[in-house]
Subunit: 255 residues, 4 copies
């Protein structure tokens, strides 16, 4: 019988210029996969260099956290970008990040869309296909990370890409295994120990308790944790410690 394994991923490098967001240093000691901003919603070249260097030093896999071109909106605003432009925007970002990953002795190991793009390609066939096209064109061996059941992962799989589903450590789930919208009660689980226990159960049993108490089946090779507040880092560390205590192997899905 095999040891269960899970990857922990988090968004990193989300500052710009003088501005910082999140505690990259602390997270790099917790996660196994770093979703690194590529400059379109956050992340300037100095930041990309620093995060890639430190991720490589720690053996954390570097992922391209690609986004709409939207610094002012932090990539959180859906934009009707034509498909061909979206494809090229994504290729540009992966290429730029890959330069820093490679000079650090690593490489871009996967792609995870950010923010509004992440949410839109859960259902938007055209934009999802455009992002798939970008990854496939750049390097068809690159895995992609996203929401289980999304159009994005379905089209990626159809194109021959390796797909990886993720769960969210601190988000509430419905009985249908979808996320509780942020505007509704139960959208967030805020107690670090409760979050840690949920993630352990998810990884060992493949089950999350939904807001209505139902036990729902969720398959996720990766779990997303946050680091944009001191409390978030504490929670991420609690998740890691609980997994280790439960004998779960914490290992990246990509190499």
């Amino acid at each position: 019988m095999s040891t269960p394994a899970v990857d922990l991923n988090s968004d990193l490098g989300e500052g710009f210029g003088i501005w910082r967001l999140g505690d990259d240093e602390a997270l790099l000691d917790i996660v196994t996969s770093a979703n690194v901003a590529c400059g379109f919603h956050a992340g300037d070249p100095d930041i990309l260099r620093r995060v890639c260097t430190r991720a490589a030093e720690r053996g954390v896999v570097i992922g391209a956290q690609v986004s709409y071109r939207d610094l002012a909106g932090f990539g959180r605003r859906s934009i009707d970008v034509p498909a061909a432009t979206l494809t090229n925007d994504v290729i540009y970002q992966i290429g730029a990040l890959d330069a820093f990953a490679r000079i650090a002795g690593s490489r871009v190991g996967y792609v995870k869309p950010h923010g509004a793009l992440y949410n839109r390609i859960v259902h938007d066939e055209i934009q999802a296909a455009a992002v798939v096209d970008a990854v496939h064109t750049y390097d068809p061996s690159l895995p992609v990370l996203g929401l289980p059941g999304s159009v994005w992962l379905r089209l990626a799989a159809e194109a021959g890409l390796t797909t990886v589903g993720e769960a969210f450590a601190d988000r509430g789930y419905t009985a249908n295994a979808t996320l509780v919208p942020r505007s509704q009660p139960g959208a967030l689980v805020t107690d670090a120990d409760a979050v840690a226990a949920r993630v352990v159960r998810l990884v060992t049993d493949g089950v999350l308790e939904a807001v209505d108490g139902t036990a729902v089946s969720v398959q996720a090779r990766s779990v997303c944790v946050h680091g944009d507040s001191p409390g978030a880092v504490v929670m991420a560390a609690a998740v890691r410690n609980a997994l280790q205590d439960a004998g779960v192997a914490i290992s990246p899905f990509a190499s």
Copy 2:
């Protein structure tokens, strides 16, 4: 006795979004090396994709025309960027362009700084070293293109990079083999036939006639031509035709 050879280089991909500058299509049939804008002074991902694709189809070598981050100023304003940031800005640009070059079946074959950065590193040791560091870190086999006698080419050579000097087809030269400042008489040669004759003499004899009539020795493996006006394209074509008529091999310096 060997056939003389020269490379013709020109700036391409210098539009942004809806805006266009120069006739990329016409130039790609004339030059052997394309200095492609990388997004910091001009060049969006759609443009990078298109220019790289068409350059690769024609066997034109793709160079990274790296710049200060300055869309509003088209990279023509000197900026006191700290050295480490400049290094990372250049790596970012090369990486982004390389993605498009590689998916087109080519690769970034050389680096040529643009505009104010080009001019500044003729003499600024710190910024020149920062750009050299970027190229050397990204790929020490990449040749660099620049002004003969510049700090930029000297430091690049000292770092072990292959350096290539260029001449300007339509610029006047002083008796010291420097360019006549644009504010002075004789800065520009505007007659296409005269320009073509000057380039042929430069390539076959290693000599240019200075504004004071002196014959000055100029060693240039590459000649820069322009394409930002209908007249410029006609001049570039005249240069190419005259070189071919003179039995000069027009071939890229990089591969």
Copy 3:
């Protein structure tokens, strides 16, 4: 019996940095209202200064052509900007342009949204209300220009703003007085004389011939002409000349 009157409006100042779009000089001799880009989709401060100065010299009324923040997409991509942010983005643009209008001895005389924002607030109540809020907050005496029948003009009128409907000189209309979509036959009228004749009939009789031959009633105090190609300028001039020959007064709707 009164002389019929019409305003001619056109988009101006739509370059950025080194890039130009359209023939501002030619249009300023044709139109009575200039929709001036404010920096979010096009238009840098040098351009705003120049266009405002020349518009004021000629007595052309200056309008704020406000847009989504989207230089790379020229404001042609719909963006899900939150309402409060959209309101503030519009106020920022009007204020910036008004500075240049005032130092030229004029002032912003009206507001016309650009591109994707123009199209979205034809039907999107929330974004339309956000733009109305911006204009009303900045100066409730400012007229707004837009598509007859749009949510934008309806909400503006409800808020007490003066609303002005416009027609498009070179666009085909359906029998319902809506524009023929650009993807369908008859979307554009390309013959300058035909366009001129249509505009004269519109202004004098309040009627346009639809693509199916129906005579449709269209009320438009302003007609939009283009200047982004040599042919467009010729057409705009033809419209102006035909109106003058027909005894129509060409006069701005705002002051």
Copy 4:
């Protein structure tokens, strides 16, 4: 005998999009003049709206903290902007901020350049004149704030503008009344009580103790305090309290 009076100014609104910098709320209860970022080095329209609204509510005077166009460098990098462009960039920023100041019931009350521009126009005649031209063109009744003895204040005065010199609460001074460079010992005074005592002496006696112990005469109608760290806010509050305890009137220089 009159009560001594001083203005306290600080930089506010220096976030962008999701990013924040400094504690605007705390500072608005301490200072009498707010140097508000206008969007070129920091400050998006939502931030401008919020800061202007709250400043107006508290009677804090709003100043335009104008900058080079440089979000990535936070306006801290000197840029060789042509004079005419710099003038227009400054007018654009003042106009945009003035819109928010006016809808909050206030107005832009003065202009203070930021960062690299502040430092450059201490000595650069051409750029200093360009900024003076901008202010004078926009509104010749606007006071300008800057370093005593700078070219900027000299040219502003020659142009007829009201000039206001400022001192820096936490910076060391040389015996010549210039700032100790940040790279040298004594550049910063870090003890809040010491800083407060220095400011009181400056305001009541017109004297600061230089790093070599000399008492130097400094005339400053305004004192700059910072708010970009918890310690900085504590220091700013200590300065205000000490001034009040000493019977100094804390009042804006502009209205």
